[in-house]
Subunit: 411 residues, 3 copies
């Protein structure tokens, strides 16, 4: 604790964190307690839970969490630990069950978590009070957030819901399906994974596939030094938006830029894809012929959204890419990415999986490598926090500032 | 220490242990010191050591122990560490040697542990006082127990020997051989491995192979709720025993039930196999045509025996299954099972290895899985010790009570 | 700290170290701080760096170090961590680059470590003061030593340079090339790896390939007990040296025995290969037809040299074998061996790689195994430091004495 307070004292705004914040196991545990077990974290999407009894298991540090659609159609979250001997109840990552039955001694729980049956426990035993322990869960227009705290801050999630639901709601996630889900484990501290995601200073040299359709100026990089050239580009961007805004309004899309990264750590930004692209694909053509429910015509928009520090999302007219980062240890982070398409789209007919996933499979792998060499280099005795670029790393600074605040509140 | 005292204080009789007893490395180390380095633990069987010089290495925590049959035919135990530079002397799990020679600098020890030769050590060096460090070893009719304490409690093992030798002696383990030995490493705390073994509440749903011949009522599970039905079954069991007892007496078998699980943690129970089975096989037929030395006719008995918390055994008329559990870390346990048959039995003629081992290979694997999902679920922040079933988990409660006592004695 | 002082107090001269010095992670960290981050350690050879921009990365504990030949032809050492976000700059083990460019955001450093370019950092940012952090590096006639201390002792390396450069200089390492480099990771504490290298008591029984050409008496083992036999051998050795010395003098070789192992830990000893061998090969014939630059005729000499506790070297007329040991953890050590030949020698024509490397590939693997069973045995509760042999383990005692002194100086 004293060590962490001392390290927080060493932190200088505008610079990176002292090495221990990335490499120390003690601080990692503090991160988990102060952040991942206190705030709302993005863990999944409604599109995974089509039917009653459809469940999904998510691991957050030592906690295995069951997400399941209940009899009423709500998605509930429970700790995956039987109230008898503590065994895990759901032992596969996903599935569909009528009841939640512990494989060890067949205690039976309803989809609402109530204990329904426990054999041979004698007269004095009561099922009441022995239900599965619930976990707070909230949906923002289909994006699912859990909070492992015993006393979750609902004001926090309600504010985010109010702000973001209008953007997300347009895409009708409950009418989409998960076409593909890919996990990678990055050998890097979770904050390096997030820092990497919060700037595009590294994009030009490292992401050739992404840059096929990516708007460099909107993403905060690539502005020319010559002020006249820059002004010309800014004008061109403004003109493009001027054309799109009425169209988006007419479709009912929410598209005004929203940036709360300095304070509450989320952001929504409607971008216009570059080079005539309609989707993040190698040739810029649609990845899925069947458009998302809200669209009748192809559109070159990309709603780039970040929520609560552990997720990033791209909503396009034909598919959604949604990614979450969950820490495993001070030097390992799970990055799970899902590609969503219209629930009626058919693989092989409307979309090709390799084509749909190619850009972000490559981009994620490039970012994994960057986060890993970053982590490896920070281990050096010679590392000292360097200066961030105000031009291109402002959002990284915001993230680091937010992170420092979370830790300070726990000291 | 204070933490352990506090945790012991949290323990409530009739409930499981607080999570830290299963998941904490600190408590694991305390378990090793208080239990595995203080009490007598089952590590092998005389049937492995047919000839002089036949040795076997067993690892218990950081200690590698050599078991070897010496010149006089006794089985001795030594620490596997040369008195010169500390190197391991026996570097294979088993073998047969005339002397114990250190591979590093060829110091030579007799089978009694004495240092016989050490080259180039000069005039002043004396072999005397540089013998291998001995480990206390005792045999209960051929079951081998070691004690790593510098001051082993012999009263303890003598009492167990007096109680159990009559049961085991009948099977003449020195005239059996090891037909097969299989190790599995379970990713679970050793106490979860033992708890799993001490109840059959989980058997019905998880052990189809075992239940082919397993007597459900004797094993403490499966009694019907209807008291009249239960009484009828009890009567039937009594009648079966009434038929067998005189036969067993005439053969010289010891068969009275013995249960010291509440106190000293061992038990012997003569069971009668079900469904007309003569052996724990899939079809109930004999696993080995050549009967064990004490038998002239096939017999449907199964002496189910547990010794000192880390072993379980089944003695049948044609083979013996004997299992030991040795902890590796707070979340890993070695489970070693041996199948013994008459020393004159021939593989492929008298027995088929797959047939002989099938039931317990399957059963062990099922139990491994149960212990592992149990361990995984206990890691959850939501875990709280649940209530044991008095009807079916009494022996688990006895084990946990015994364990708590061992720890209390060390605080 | 108190624990280490207490353990140092337990150490008895002439005996091995208490177990914790080999097995404790706390002491391992102290070893790294007191020794590997304070003294000069051997990390490479000039023969690796033929051209400007040729680089090599070496990992010492948490530090990744770049060794690179600069514009002026000097070999420099830098911490491999960008001054911006800390990422590793060189991400392959070796290569050749015009500049050192960070892959993350393309900051560009010169081969002298100066920061030359950093994009988008704004007007106020200055490259000055943001160069790569240098590491002290010194060459002893081509053997490269680094020192990770902020205040390296140059007196130390200068003394070693004065003493050893005359021996090494004759072999003109800058005109040799690395024919092969092989890493092995030994599961043993680094001190056990070194102890193993500092005695040949174990050689007779364990190194059949090495003994094809190895002079047993010079290496401190193998003297017969009979004093008359020993005298006859000594006389024979003296005669052999009497023949060789004038020849070596005429060639300009430095060959007088030098032994500072008791104090500063290095040694040079010119040996004469046995059994008519000219090189350490299986048949004793030359491993490389093209002789090293200093030789016009084959010569059966072998300059056996040890430097500063973490290296050992054999310089012969046709090739050099040079080995370094770098600790990874308390129970893992990297052993990197390089075979050097004349830079003009051609593989397949002048030398066959398998033939060149066979003896030491086998010897290293045998030593790995010995160090590993040594480490495993020392973990035993029964281990107590044994007596070293004065006849054959004097240099081990010197190493241990030196090691104890280093630790004492840090308490």
């Amino acid at each position: 604790m004293e060590k962490i307070a001392e390290l927080l004292h060493q932190y200088r705004q505008g610079k990176g964190l002292p090495a221990a914040f990335y490499t120390s196991n003690e601080i990692f545990k503090f991160d988990v307690e102060q952040i991942f077990k206190k705030t709302w974290i993005y863990v999944g999407v409604v599109s995974e839970f089509k039917k009653k009894g459809e469940f999904r298991v998510v691991q957050v540090d030592n906690n295995s969490i069951i997400l399941v659609r209940d009899e009423q159609g709500d998605i509930r979250a429970f700790h995956n630990s039987c109230r008898h001997r503590g065994a895990q109840i759901c032992v596969t990552e996903k599935g569909n069950v009528p009841k939640l039955v512990c494989p060890y001694h067949q205690w039976v729980y309803g989809l609402n978590g109530d204990l329904i049956y426990a054999g041979r426990m004698g007269e004095s035993f009561s099922c009441k009070g022995n239900g599965l322990k619930p976990v707070a869960i909230e949906s923002i227009a289909g994006l699912l957030f859990i909070n492992l705290s015993k006393d979750p801050s609902y004001a926090d999630i309600e504010k985010m819901k109010t702000d973001l639901a209008p953007y997300v709601g347009f895409y009708q996630l409950d009418r989409l399906k998960v076409a593909k889900e890919i996990d990678i484990i990055e050998k890097a501290n979770w904050k390096l994974v997030v820092e990497n995601n919060r700037e595009c200073y590294h994009c030009n040299a490292n992401h050739p596939e992404l840059l096929k359709s990516w708007p460099p100026f909107g993403a905060g990089f690539g502005w020319p030094d010559d002020p006249r050239e820059a002004a010309a580009i800014a004008k061109k961007i403004d003109e493009a938006y001027a054309v799109k805004r009425p169209l988006w309004d007419s479709m009912g899309m929410t598209h005004e830029p929203l940036d709360l990264t300095a304070d509450r750590w989320y952001r929504a930004m409607m971008m216009i894809l570059e080079n005539g692209a309609l989707s993040q694909t190698m040739n810029g053509e649609l990845a899925c012929k069947k458009l998302l429910p809200g669209f009748t015509e192809p559109d070159n928009s990309d709603l780039s959204m970040w929520t609560h520090f552990n997720s990033w999302h791209h909503f396009m007219c034909d598919h959604v890419v949604t990614t979450m980062a969950i820490p495993i240890s001070e030097s390992e982070t799970l990055v799970r990415t899902r590609w969503l398409v219209h629930e009626d789209a058919q693989e092989g007919v409307d979309y090709d999986l390799d084509n749909l996933t190619h850009v972000w499979v490559q981009t994620n792998d490039q970012d994994r490598w960057l986060a890993e060499i970053n982590h490896a280099g920070i281990r050096s005795d010679a590392y000292q926090p360097g200066q961030y670029s105000e031009e291109t790393e402002g959002l990284v600074m915001n993230f680091i500032g937010w992170y420092i605040k979370q830790l300070q509140s726990g000291i």
